[in-house]
């Protein structure tokens, strides 16, 4: 465990922007609950991105104005949302066809742990006494959708979240493509983890010290 200076690295908003910059115009994107939801607000002007929520809506828009909430128009996190012009509704089997059948282009997810081979753990800490609840997490990573993980680099306790091997129960094996943390953008390759970009003022060694797996630099 190595402590991390709170004033170092990207803010959550900057992390979301980093993800958004990697999503091209015309993409179909599923955003996980929590931090991933912020990505939608950072898509650059001129890019049109269509959001899928697995509970049956393609063309999800932002949260409604106060007083306009509709309890039958929600996202996968059960928050009130809106639908853009050109949206459409469908049932759950069709919705997961879009996921499992690789029609979605990008899925942005949070993580408990990511292993150096791309294994993802984000559904259960496996702690005794917790009730298992998987939702759509395993479906989202089961196809060949590009999986982008957005997460703080370490846990609140300073433990690395990027590890050699996940200790939490897996969501999927070798599924993560890119990891966006407050310290770096890290790509998962067959040869291992490669740092693509460092946050301002952050060194490679600083990131490596807070990572449980070996990092590589591009030549």
């Amino acid at each position: 465990m190595v402590s991390q200076d709170e004033n170092i690295g990207w803010s959550v908003s900057e992390m979301a922007r980093n993800v958004a910059m990697d999503i091209p115009n015309g993409s179909y994107v599923n955003l996980g609950i929590g931090m991933p939801e912020l990505v939608a607000t950072h898509v650059p002007v001129g890019r049109e991105v269509i959001y899928h929520t697995e509970n049956g809506l393609l063309g999800m828009g932002p949260a409604p104005a106060e007083g306009q909430e509709d309890s039958e128009l929600i996202n996968a996190g059960k928050k009130y949302v809106t639908a853009i012009p050109g949206a459409c509704y469908f049932h759950h089997a069709d919705s997961f066809t879009m996921i499992r059948g690789n029609h979605i282009d990008f899925c942005v997810l949070g993580a408990f742990q990511v292993a150096e081979n791309g294994d993802l753990a984000n559904w259960s800490t496996g702690a005794p006494g917790t009730i298992p609840a998987v939702g759509g997490a395993m479906d989202l990573v089961a196809g060949d959708i590009t999986i982008l993980v957005i997460s703080r680099h370490t846990t609140r306790e300073g433990e690395p979240k990027i590890v050699k091997k996940c200790t939490y129960p897996l969501t999927g094996k070798a599924v993560v493509d890119t990891i966006y943390t407050d310290l770096a953008i890290i790509e998962v390759k067959d040869e291992g983890l490669f740092v693509r970009e460092l946050a301002p003022g952050v060194t490679f060694d600083y990131v490596q010290e807070r990572t449980g797996a070996k990092l590589h630099q591009y030549p």
């Binding site: 049956g56 309890s71 049932h91 759950h92 499992r100 395993m138």
Partner: protein, 237 residues
């Protein structure tokens, strides 16, 4: 004449028997047939196996059915939410069984149940604890698990509008599991916000063809689960 319309939720759920397997539509409160569930509580059937994405919240609807110890086993993808306290308590006390299924696999198992497909292969859950004990197989170099279909004795479903043939249309994201659950039960029981005359539903826009529906009851002003929970209401009141 074909007329699937019945007069009350009580009449609609009258046939549900002890030990029945019951699918209940909804994703959280959206699409949850709360009046049918309350009628089922009044009716008294017990030892039910319930298939629904969640386990309800507060002490109304599905959570109330569970609280009344009518549910022996839940099959769902996500049994806990912000306001679910009933299920966690019973589960931690060992008073209710749980089968946890990835959401897309749950949807596909239900859909295949309606489609006469007894089993299918899927990539979801491969390499995770949820694939343990499941048969797996490789096709074209990728590994998949074998999943069996799910069928139910009854499905309880909420929709926006219905006609006497049982044709249904839904409202926004309240559609979710409704259409596939209609397909996968011996008897499908629907609560509709509105019953319309035959021919009023656009034949190009019907989501559930009437062939998948057994009984329809109009519930013009369904309760909103989240409001009842916020008010601390408990069923029966």
């Amino acid at each position: 004449m074909i007329n699937k319309i019945v007069a009350s939720p009580a009449e609609a759920v009258a046939d549900i028997f002890d030990g029945a397997v019951v699918m209940i539509s909804g994703f959280g409160e959206a699409g949850s047939p709360i009046e049918l569930i309350h009628a089922l509580i009044d009716q008294g059937a017990k030892d039910l196996t319930v298939i629904s994405n969640n386990t309800g919240s507060g002490h109304v609807g599905l959570a109330a059915l569970i609280a009344h110890r009518r549910v022996k086993k839940m099959i769902c993808s996500f049994p806990r939410t912000a306001n679910s306290m009933v299920f966690p308590e019973l589960y931690n006390n060992g008073e209710i069984e749980l089968e946890i299924v990835p959401q897309g696999t749950l949807a596909e198992r239900i859909r295949s149940g309606g489609a006469g497909i007894p089993a299918f292969y899927t990539p979801t859950s491969v390499g995770t604890p949820l694939a343990e004990g499941k048969e797996s197989r490789t096709f074209d170099g990728k590994t998949y698990v074998l999943e069996r279909t799910i069928r139910a004795d009854f499905s309880l479903v909420k929709c926006r509008a219905a006609d006497r043939y049982g044709n249904l249309v839904y409202n926004k994201t309240a559609r979710n599991f409704g259409p596939i659950m209609c397909m996968a039960a011996e008897a499908t029981i629907v609560q509709a916000k509105q019953i319309v005359d035959l021919g009023q539903l656009d034949p190009e826009a019907v989501v559930t063809p009437g062939i998948f529906v057994g009984k329809v009851v109009e519930v013009a002003n369904p309760a909103e689960e989240s409001k009842l929970v916020a008010e601390g209401r408990r069923y029966p009141w």
